[in-house]
Subunit: 319 residues, 2 copies
Amino acid sequence: MITVLTGGTGGAKFVDGLRQIVPPEELTIIVNTGDDMLWWGLYVSPDVDSVTYMMAGRLSQERGWGVKGDTFFALRAMGQLGQPIWFHAGDRDLATHILRSKLLSDGKTLSEVTAEIAAKLGIKARILPMSNSRVETRVLTPVGDLSFEEYFVQRWYQDPVESVRFAGASDAEPAPGVIEAIRTADIVLLAPSNPVSSIGPILAVPGIRAALRESRARIVAVSPIVGGAAVSGPAGALLAAQGFAVSIGGVADFYRDFLDVLVVDSRDFQAAEELRKAGLRVSCAPAIMRTVEDRVALAKAALAAAMQPPTMEAAAENL
Amino acid sequence: MITVLTGGTGGAKFVDGLRQIVPPEELTIIVNTGDDMLWWGLYVSPDVDSVTYMMAGRLSQERGWGVKGDTFFALRAMGQLGQPIWFHAGDRDLATHILRSKLLSDGKTLSEVTAEIAAKLGIKARILPMSNSRVETRVLTPVGDLSFEEYFVQRWYQDPVESVRFAGASDAEPAPGVIEAIRTADIVLLAPSNPVSSIGPILAVPGIRAALRESRARIVAVSPIVGGAAVSGPAGALLAAQGFAVSIGGVADFYRDFLDVLVVDSRDFQAAEELRKAGLRVSCAPAIMRTVEDRVALAKAALAAAMQPPTMEAAAENL
């Protein structure tokens, strides 16, 4: 059984690789909901949507978010009605937001709604939101305290980041199945998502970090930092704002208390050697996912890293 | 000042004629909300939308409802998600439903929301929902107690109608401005809408029928019944179900207590003569609106009927 923690576009690409090599009934995907927000009064869950569309083969490859081939007529009409249009909800995408909002207002939980939508789209793997409680990633910048989507999409992560917090996290509970999926997995993968804003909210839900520490699973993270910079998005700026180095070492530090193996890009072989000397198992693989083949290869590399026994050197170092 | 009571597609066409000959600041449109419903959890107000789109020059002429040139990608996506799709909300149309739902859940009234949307679309005439209270037109049929849209759109008015009622009407209040617009108008027009299901709900709101009876305005109704049958839709079936003749006489009876002049189609000149003998002022004009020119001509005929002094005969008869 394989459980993956994910969020963001890098995470969705990695999940695309995984779904092509792991039988769906063996795959559980725990998804960040820190980016969730009300948009035009509708409940939008950007990372859950991306993973759901990806698993259904419907994610737009060009954009990396939203539905393949989607149109934006409702969005334009909203603009004509004087409403904000910086979050690009497509017409097909809107159906998901409308249905989720309706089911939530009918009293269903986000878990139930996520499962219902996934089932309708023929998805057999389990997609679990990290929590049914509202946890909001807030990014403090000189222009104000922004939601993650305001920071990332509306303002295109141009603002210096003073700090990141997860509002509501301390009162949140993991969604049903999350703790069990971590505890009972053979392998737990951390997708090459932004550690701070995609994996961080998941880790901030009380009980999840402890479950990772206590899990019998081999825990493998794939670094979203390659050559000292984020592959995409604001992972570098957010790691720095949280006091972590923008390097594979910073990623390792972020996951230090539960990580078994870090998968890094091959070009980071020297930094990898440093980490190995410090006692961490590190596996090198091409980590930039330009094509679907890259995604599959990286997913395979992560699984291989989980399944390999420790090398003699690493075993010796770990003594 | 001209106030028009309207609903349905015939009403929207008539309003299209009116807007081309009446300055917008002199026009108040009181709209049926008995067809309003929650669709996918969104608050839809079909007649308010039709009038709003018509006044903005955006109503689809081909369909008679919805936005000109609209697409239906969200609808198809909803179908794929297993949701009902018999009410054809287009992508651009959805923007209106989403915004209205949001503003209502923010605590605004339907009047305020209607005015806000109309203003955004550049509409200068006043569009007033009949009431801010929920009044639901229910059609009792052998297959069950249906909402109007279920009866009309989902089941395409195929079911025998046992009765029609306006749930919630007795506790409803006219929306702000409605009574005043009736009392202070120079002319009140009843569009050639379905008397039972489009004008009936308006008349069922306590105070509105009394305001019509007491108004100093000349009150002119345009008959939606031509040659003993409805021009379109279920007006005939619903009039019969309510115990009225399916004729211009039935329409006259429906409005009897406040009607000054009935405008009927020219082919009903014989039936018109009967009504005149019974003491009603009746004006004949081509009442089938196939083209935009037809709409303008009918609107002009209705205004002319309102402004003509009673004929000597009619005056004599009325003595």
